[in-house]
């Protein structure tokens, strides 16, 4: 009995619903966005978008000369690099520490992944309240170390400290994501390899660096790429905790595009900026994957 592939007609039939769905929710809006990026249109312009004048590359040129866009883009890149790096290191360390069995391990793992279950908007609100002048960070934690002067620490008043609060919220919520992937990856490393290395006299450090880490490299790449893509889209924390302020000092690229599109209603310009961001992310992620996976082949 030979397994033969299903006829082409069945395959096509089976694919129709999915293709229709993808076409309507992904392709059509995406094509529309590309078209809008080449127009000069906003809802208050007094005419419908399909009657808007085509302005060519004007919006793209404007974006590349827009200091606020470039600043928000740079800030977002810093945000991604810092959060993903810290989350990766913490997630990996936690996963390694929890690899061995001990009483109450399941409870500890549940506690570690708990932040992941909260909506980002809730996390942002919690951290916003925690970092108030008289919030628990100043009033309880730092006051016990620095004394009453801790109450004069205004986290959201300075660009650097405001940015740090965003990083802390993100790291708190998303480290468990990296932890989960790393924990699964490390748990899947064949025990026989570790035991063989131990028999040959390898120490824990050697086993980690020479056996475990190389074996989980593909999952590390996936975790980092997924997390970086998500971190690049950060919006909730910034919108709720700092509003992009003080001034525009913590305004990320998502928040800026949101403001241009939704608050200033410059839909065409927002579409152009979105396309630029998309192109840069594609290039960066592709380069990262090449560096991690394909460079040595």
């Amino acid at each position: 009995m030979v397994n033969r592939p299903a006829p082409r007609s069945i395959k096509l039939l089976a694919n129709i619903p999915l293709n229709l769905l993808l076409f309507s929710v992904l392709i059509v809006p995406f094509v529309l966005m590309i078209y809008l990026a080449f127009l000069e249109w906003n809802p208050a312009s007094g005419y419908d978008w399909w009657k808007a004048p085509i302005t060519g590359l004007t919006n793209f040129k404007k974006a590349l000369e827009d200091a606020r866009f470039l600043y928000s883009f740079r800030l977002t890149m810093i945000y991604v690099v810092v959060t993903v790096a810290v989350e990766f290191l913490l997630g990996l360390a936690l996963a390694y520490l929890l690899l061995e069995d001990f009483p109450g391990k399941k409870l500890v793992i549940a506690a570690v992944i708990y932040p992941l279950m909260l909506p980002p908007v809730v996390v942002a609100t919690i951290f916003y309240l925690m970092f108030q002048d008289y919030g628990p960070i100043n009033n309880i934690f730092l006051r016990s170390i620095m004394g009453a002067s801790a109450l004069n620490l205004h986290w959201f008043l300075r660009p650097d400290t405001a940015f740090i609060t965003l990083l802390i919220a993100d790291i708190w919520q998303w480290t468990p994501f990296i932890f989960l992937i790393m924990y699964s990856a490390l748990s899947a490393v064949p025990k026989r390899l570790v035991e063989a290395a131990q028999v040959l006299g390898a120490g824990s450090s050697t086993i980690f660096w020479r056996i475990r880490l190389p074996l989980i490299k593909p999952l590390i790449i996936i975790a980092v790429v997924l997390r970086a893509l998500e971190a690049f889209k950060v919006f909730d924390y910034v919108y709720i905790m700092t509003g992009g302020g003080p001034g525009t000092s913590t305004e990320t690229v998502s928040l800026y595009i949101y403001r241009v599109a939704i608050e200033y209603h410059d839909i065409s310009y927002a579409a152009a900026m979105s396309l630029i961001v998309l192109a840069v992310i594609m290039v960066v992620i592709r380069a990262f994957i090449w560096y991690a996976f394909e460079r040595g082949e």
Binding site: A6, P43, L157, G247
Partner: protein, 552 residues
């Protein structure tokens, strides 16, 4: 071959089963679904918070047997009669639901109006679609202008948004309804002019009904300002009298004095000398604009529409704000607008300025300053006009909520009639006194004893007097197309200066550059015509300075 057949058969069986399951599911869902009324309260996707406020109960009555209740003002009576007529003609049927999109701060106000509406028009339900933040309402309104879903019938908006929502095609012209039903916009009980006209009119047509007036007044801690001990101490330190400040310069000294006293409020928090808006979300521009206008600044050139904010008056406004900054709580730069209310009501600030609703909140029984909150005109700026110094006072009128009927509503006339009912002299006063963000907008509420006594109960005698004077020196928000965008850019830059991330010169030049782009986007000629009309509405004292400086 057998395997292939089996796979194909399995696939077809699965596909068929799925289709049948969907059909059965749909059928079961249809027969077990709740009544239509309930569905309408649970399936909305437009908002963050959706709650049905009123649903009609009881057997619908026929319009011919329901008299318009006596005791209602003529404006409200006409609205109720209008609804009955619509029902008679079959334009609407009993059980019709009207949907109002609004911001959370006006919920209690509108609930009161709906409660009263229910007494006279029980046949028509009114649902509130509540959004959390003010900009959310603007965004949803503009999205509706694009998507045209008809998911709400009426929307309450800032008067600054009117140009945008009209141009976007969302706002329905109301002139015909004004003529047909007469909302009481003439005579002794008309809305206060010129506010009543400039907040509801766009390019000569009526598109809205007034729900509010929002002229700023100065609020202060009277107990601290009249304390003899502090008065003597202030006299000794500054060589002048401690009193309600006439100028911003005087206010800075007093704010410094009270901040340095390190007083503790009843709440346990520190008492700050001042709290004026400098926050990043939308209100920072108000303080800057107030000082700028009083200093004789003009926003745009009246001949070219070039921004004129990068000017000595603009720098002066920043200078005053930066001098005040050390005496304001840090939250003035970071928190949302409501934080100012919170701190004043807790007694944590001596001088502040906000919408009339701040006074209403300060007079509530739970307020720590209910017996000691004073009201005064906004501080002014001394400027030289024709060689002599003159104190110029002006008061901003930001926001000013108005009600707009959606062009995509199924019941636009009904939507209008609800607004007319809710803003009638009698119903409107009940509405503004019950909730938070809507404030008095009809003249007779200040003048006619039967209304004034109620107003005084809600706001206090002193405020009612001060507010009448403030109306005379008020100036409009930027009521031209793109108004929200112009002001948002200004707010961002004012906040940046106050946070120390930009210097005033850069902030002003950046704002001017942003404003130029916005003006170009909408067309210089059209924007200029709108601005020329708006400039006429500024107080005479301000215009006299503009003329003296050659701006006008």
């Amino acid at each position: 071959m057998g395997n292939v057949n089996k796979s194909r058969r399995q696939f077809l069986i699965t596909l068929g089963s799925s289709v049948i399951a969907l059909g059965v599911g749909y059928f079961l869902g249809s027969v077990t679904r709740p009544a239509k009324e309930i569905i309408s309260t649970t399936t909305k996707t437009l908002t963050k918070t959706v709650t049905t406020t009123v649903t009609a109960t009881g057997t619908p009555t026929t319009t011919t047997t329901t008299p318009v209740a006596p005791g209602l003002s003529a404006v409200a009576q006409r609205a109720v009669a209008g609804v009955k007529e619509l029902m008679d003609k079959g334009v609407i049927s009993p059980g019709t639901t009207l949907r109002i999109l609004h911001v959370a701060g006006s919920r209690a106000n509108l609930e009161k109006a709906i409660e009263l509406w229910k007494q006279y028009v029980p046949e028509v339900n009114v649902e509130l679609i509540t959004l959390g933040q003010e900009p959310d309402v603007y965004n949803k309104a503009m999205q509706e202008a694009v998507t045209k879903t008809g998911s709400f019938d009426v929307v309450t908006i800032f008067s600054t948004w009117l140009g945008d929502v009209v141009e976007a095609g969302l706002a329905k012209p109301l002139d015909a309804y004004y003529s047909k039903y007469d909302p009481g916009y003439t005579g002794p009980c008309a809305p206060i002019e010129p506010l009543g006209s400039y907040t509801t009119t766009y390019k000569g047509k009526r598109y809205a009904l007034n729900l509010d007036s929002d002229v700023f007044t100065l609020s202060y801690r009277k107990d601290l300002l009249t304390n003899p001990e502090y008065q003597n101490e202030f006299q000794a330190q500054y060589g002048k009298q401690l009193k309600v400040p006439d100028t911003w310069e005087e206010l800075i000294d007093m704010a410094e004095f009270f901040t340095n006293l390190n007083l503790t409020a009843p709440s346990g928090g520190k008492v700050w000398g001042a709290y004026f808006y400098a926050e990043p979300r939308f209100a920072a521009y108000i303080t800057w604009l107030n000082i700028f206008v009083e200093a004789g600044g003009i926003l745009f050139d009246l001949k070219t529409m070039d921004p004129k904010i990068d000017s000595p008056e603009g720098r002066y406004a920043f200078d005053i704000m930066l001098k005040l900054k050390p005496y304001m709580p840090p939250e003035a730069v970071t928190a949302s607008w409501a934080d100012l209310y919170d701190k004043f009501v807790k007694g944590e600030t001596v001088f502040t300025a906000a919408w009339p609703s701040l006074t209403k909140e300060a007079h509530r029984p739970t307020s720590a300053v209910k017996d000691v909150a004073g009201s005064a005109l906004m501080p002014g700026v001394e400027v030289e006009v024709g060689g002599t110094k003159k104190l110029i006072r002006a008061a901003p009128n930001p926001v000013n909520w108005v009600g707009v009927v959606s062009n995509y509503s199924k019941y636009p006339e009904l939507g209008y009639l609800f607004l007319q009912f809710a803003t009638a002299p009698d119903i409107g006063l009940e509405m503004i006194l019950t909730g938070v963000i809507l404030d008095p907008f009809r003249k007779c509420w200040f003048t006619e004893p039967k209304y004034r006594s109620k107003l005084v109960q809600g706001y206090g005698e002193e405020f009612v007097e001060v507010y009448m004077q403030s109306l005379g020196i008020s100036f409009p928000d930027l009521l031209i197309r793109g108004g929200p965008e112009y002001l948002a850019k200004l707010t961002t830059n004012v906040n940046a200066v106050m946070a120390g991330t930009k210097d005033p010169e850069t902030a002003l030049s950046d704002t001017a550059s942003d404003w130029d782009s916005i003006t170009s986007k909408y067309g210089v000629d059209e924007q200029l015509a709108a601005w020329q009309g708006l400039a006429e509405l500024f107080p005479d004292d301000v215009k006299s300075v503009w003329k003296a400086r050659g701006y006008m």
